[in-house]
Amino acid sequence: MDWELIFRKHSPGVYQYLLTLSGNNQEAEDLLQETFIRAMRSISSLREPDKIHSWLMTIARNLFLDHRKKRMRQNTDSIEDSLTETVNQASGAESPEDFTIRSDFMSSLRVTLKNLSETYRTAFTLGVMQGLSYREVAEITGWSSATVKSNIFRARKKVADAMIEFQR
């Protein structure tokens, strides 16, 4: 199995998900690294190779939830105010004015996502930002198909309402 190729193909999506969930670059990087190490060690448990993306996302999510539980137990849980990796890496040739507009949109999105529950952050990231199928979201989260549909709708509605100023 060419793990380097798998890493190159799937790590950006997993990383984006972890950035959105954790809101912290360092935590997301650590979890991404742990996700792939764990995946490489337990590849035998992947029964359907074409579902490797969902499988990686599931590992990432479980690691995040475990990590968050530990942090909560340590009473140090605080979502850092940075989705900067997702936000700042929207790069490309653009005028300073464009950049300001873009930056405003992404900053607003960052704040909005930060204020969502983990459930809605997951629903929004997987279903809306990454465009995964509802079946994939269900596989990753363990939610029923009705719950997936409902969570994505509610998350989408919350974000759309919060960012109404950009809806023009």
């Binding site: 793990w3 380097e4 890493f7 190159r8 790590s11 950006p12 999506g13 990383y15 984006q16 950035l19 990087e29 991404l32 690294q33 792939f36 190490i37 490489m40 060690r41 990796e85 997702t86 890496q89 929207a90 790069s91 490309g92 873009r102 949109f105 992404m106 999105l109 279903g127 809306v128 930002m129 465009g131 199928s133 509802y134 549909k149 409902s150 994505i152 709708f153 989408r156 509605k157 974000v159 759309a160 309402d161 960012m163 109404i164 950009f166 809806q167 023009r168």
Partner: protein, 204 residues
């Protein structure tokens, strides 16, 4: 009687509109939702908001760049630990070879240090004194050396047999613990067998 459509709330239709945007609404539900949207301005406005948000995300959101140093770190941490032996032999055989390596060191020391220019003379009454640094020669080195000795002097296998015979006679001295004789008997079996799985074939 009210139609089925009127039994749904606008929120349900908006949830359907969200699913429709994601390509997850089909059949009758899709038809019904489209019909509702055509006549409900509130739901249509909600769909428009969803669509504008999606367009904006599509235009502005890019997947983050994963730090370049990430893969080498993962690759390094996931690499299987290097085995001590380069030859895939079983644990028992490895142990036997280690013992044989100690024997060889003793043998070679006796030959090259004490009798450097003469044909070695073996005295069955003289005990073997083992080297005090067991484990200094790794298995690959031992095998290479043994091969070299055997190809240089075909009678070395007799000398090796002599050593094993000596061990079997329980005349053992030195700081190294005597090997288990059952293991040594097994070692003779191993050493006379061709091992088809490995590159090295033992013919003592």
């Amino acid at each position: 009687m009210k139609s089925r459509e009127t039994l749904r709330s606008c929120e349900e239709y908006q949830a359907n509109a969200s699913a429709m945007m994601d390509g997850e609404l089909h059949g009758e539900e899709l038809t019904e939702t489209v019909k509702h949207l055509a006549k409900c301005q509130t739901c249509m406005e909600e769909l428009r908001k969803f669509q504008l948000l999606q367009d904006r995300l599509n235009a502005e959101l890019t997947e983050p760049d994963v730090p370049a140093e990430m893969w080498p770190k993962i690759s390094k941490q996931s690499a299987p630990k290097q085995k001590a032996m380069s030859i895939p032999l079983g644990k028992k055989v490895a142990r036997i070879i280690s013992i044989a390596a100690v024997i060889a060191i003793a043998f070679l020391s006796g030959y090259f240090v004490h009798h450097p220019s003469t044909t070695p003379v073996f005295n069955p009454d003289e005990p073997i004194v083992l080297a005090s640094n067991p484990g200094q020669m790794d298995d690959a080195h031992f095998l290479a050396l043994t091969r070299e000795l055997l190809s240089a002097d075909p009678v070395y296998h007799q000398k090796m047999y002599f050593i094993l015979h000596t061990l079997n006679s329980q005349r053992w001295e030195g700081s190294v613990e005597a090997p288990d004789m059952d293991d040594m008997s097994s070692s003779l079996d191993v050493l006379t067998a061709d091992n088809a799985d490995d590159d090295i074939v033992f013919r003592f």
